[in-house]
């Protein structure tokens, strides 16, 4: 199969400091990550001819978008042939697929991709009155009008509804679901940048305050400040990159065939995953037994469970049994999951963290948390209630 995925690779990764309430300008975090990624690829800014990001300029919730494509293009004086951003992509990593397309089409040789969040600091600035709270008072338009007036104001509520339905249909228990959170916390203990590293027991998990049934505090990821960046390079340039190798794209799923809606589709699962999962598998001969690790979006514990099933690692309704006891998804298990701790414990790097962790593991650069059996393949996903994306990656 001649496919666009084979014409590009990740040649550089960069990550800013990660923390709660760093009180740093999100542009500063962004430049730290971007410059680190450019250097990591063995490039200079003159080599960068494309910029892609998620979500770029957005209204309403600026904490989720710390820098736009234009900010980076202008500040770094980049000379680009292609750039884009936006919320309406296949998850946060849809911006990586856009970069791959630009490279594959011959527009670009090296696209800089980044994702910057500064939710922790932004919330603190709101609390202290340093930025004006813009969410109150006005009437709700658009899609929000169908949920916010009922106090269904958070993705915690919307995704808890699916989880409650899934539990009703398939008998999933909180103890089983909690394995995703416990696994993340165990893994985060080895991650230098993780937010939550102190050990957590099943009792801690079950005893945490309830946010929205069946979700307790540790089913919900932790907002943070961070920027993560990648260089997506043409495959022909990889041999000249700093490492002389990189991480290749075996197959990417960016499809969606569900309602784009929080309540009108299949309410047993987080929506927007199945099309991406099926499309990814349709573009490769690799199969489940060929996959060495999973980096699955876990904005909530249940999101990762949905990916496990939608990707076909267990049959419909069987994720609870799959997760039972947690051994299968552990670092030394048959299918290590979220080896940096995921968003639940490492922090909400918002999609980009999963690709970053897949890359450092595949390149053997994960340090203390490097998996004992050097992985050759990985799946990284993004999404979170919006239509998602699935990336099957392999070491070149």
């Amino acid at each position: 199969m001649d496919k666009y995925e084979s014409r590009s690779a990740v040649t550089g990764m960069g990550m800013s400091e990660v923390g709660r309430r760093l009180m740093r300008d999100p542009l500063a975090l962004t430049f730290d990550a971007c410059l680190a990624a450019i250097e990591d690829a063995g490039l200079t800014r003159e080599d960068i001819d494309g910029v892609c990001t998620y979500p770029g300029t957005v209204g309403g919730a600026p904490g989720i978008s710390g820098a736009a494509a234009w900010d980076v293009m202008d500040a770094l004086r980049l000379d680009v042939k292609f750039f884009n951003s936006g919320l309406e992509q296949a998850g946060q990593l849809g911006s990586i697929a856009a970069a791959m397309l630009a490279v594959s089409a011959g527009l670009c040789r090296h696209v800089l991709c980044f994702r910057t969040v500064w939710e922790a600091t932004y919330t603190q600035l709101q609390r202290t009155g340093k930025v004006r709270y813009s969410g109150g008072g006005g009437r709700m338009g658009g899609d929000q009008q169908w949920r916010i007036p009922y106090g269904a104001a958070s993705a915690a509520n919307w995704i808890a509804l699916y989880c409650s339905r899934y539990m009703h249909e398939y008998g999933l228990t909180r103890e089983q679901l909690g394995q995703i959170a416990l696994n993340g916390r165990r893994n985060a203990a080895l991650t230098d940048y993780a937010i939550y590293t102190e050990p957590m027991t099943l009792e801690d998990y079950l005893g945490a305050r309830i946010v929205s049934t069946p979700f307790g505090l540790y089913d919900c990821d932790v907002p943070c400040d961070a920027s993560v960046a990648f260089i997506i390079s043409h495959i022909d340039t990889v041999k000249d990159s700093r490492r002389g190798t990189g991480v290749g794209f075996e197959a990417v799923g960016t499809g969606n065939h569900e309602r784009v809606s929080w309540d009108q589709g299949d309410i047993r699962y987080e929506p927007g995953l199945l099309g991406a999962a099926q499309m990814m598998w349709s573009r490769t001969d690799l199969r489940h037994e060929d996959i060495d690790m999973l980096q699955l979006y876990d904005g909530f514990s249940f999101n990762a469970l949905c990916w496990l099933e939608r990707l076909g690692f267990c049959a419909e309704g069987e994720a609870g049994d799959f997760l039972e006891g947690g051994a299968r998804i552990a670092r030394d298990g048959e299918l290590p999951l979220n080896t940096n701790g995921g968003q639940l414990s490492a922090g909400r790097l918002h999609g980009y963290g999963f690709l970053h962790e897949a890359c450092v593991q595949l390149l053997g650069e994960a340090g203390a948390r490097q998996l004992p059996n050097q992985p050759q393949t990985a799946i990284a996903t993004s999404g979170g209630g919006v239509p998602g994306s699935a990336f099957l990656l392999r070491k070149l």
Binding site: G136, G137, G138, R139, M140, G141, D143, Q145, W146, R147, I148, P149, Y150, G151, A152, A153, S154, A156, N157, W158, A160, L161, Y162, C163, S164, R165, H168, R209, I210, V211, S212, T213, P214, F215, S261, W262, D263, Q264, I267
Partner: protein, 142 residues
């Protein structure tokens, strides 16, 4: 501080003000009778653009629920029950709503519900109560 309310427009006013007459209303495709929600000026099933507003029974089925314990909006005091309900006439039409008049322990997925309305300013929010659990008396506040 007030509860956040929908911005009424020519496209959604029929829905958010239907409670004035105690009825739940949806858009319906004139050609294939598909109920269309959220309101959009085309039918997703047959692509007809001919549509009309119709009243439905107000009965629904509880499809999923969560009890929210965290305060997100200062005017809406937790805990409260958020639900997905499926409209009797066409179960693939769902509303995200609140369940009233019922304790968490009494909720069962699949239970029958009936609509009632909470009136705020010019908006009537459809909420649902389990059938047979006592309708709100006239004059009782929202």
């Amino acid at each position: 501080m007030k509860r956040p309310l929908p911005q009424l427009t020519d496209s959604n006013r029929f829905f958010w003000t239907a409670g004035e007459h105690g009825k739940l209303r949806f858009l319906r495709c004139t050609d294939c009778a598909n109920l269309i929600h959220p309101p959009v000026p085309i039918c997703g099933k047959c692509l007809s653009t001919r549509q009309e507003v119709v009243e439905v029974s107000g009965r629904a089925t509880l499809a999923a629920f969560t009890v929210n314990h965290q305060m997100w909006i200062p005017s809406i005091e937790p805990p409260y029950i958020i639900a997905l309900v499926e409209i009797e006439e066409q179960p693939d039409v769902r509303l995200t709503t609140n369940i009233v008049g019922c304790a968490e322990s009494e909720l069962v997925i699949g239970m029958p519900l009936a609509v009632e309305f909470e009136h705020y300013e010019d908006v009537y929010l459809p909420v649902f109560r389990p059938l047979g659990m006592g309708q709100r008396q006239p004059g009782e506040g929202a």
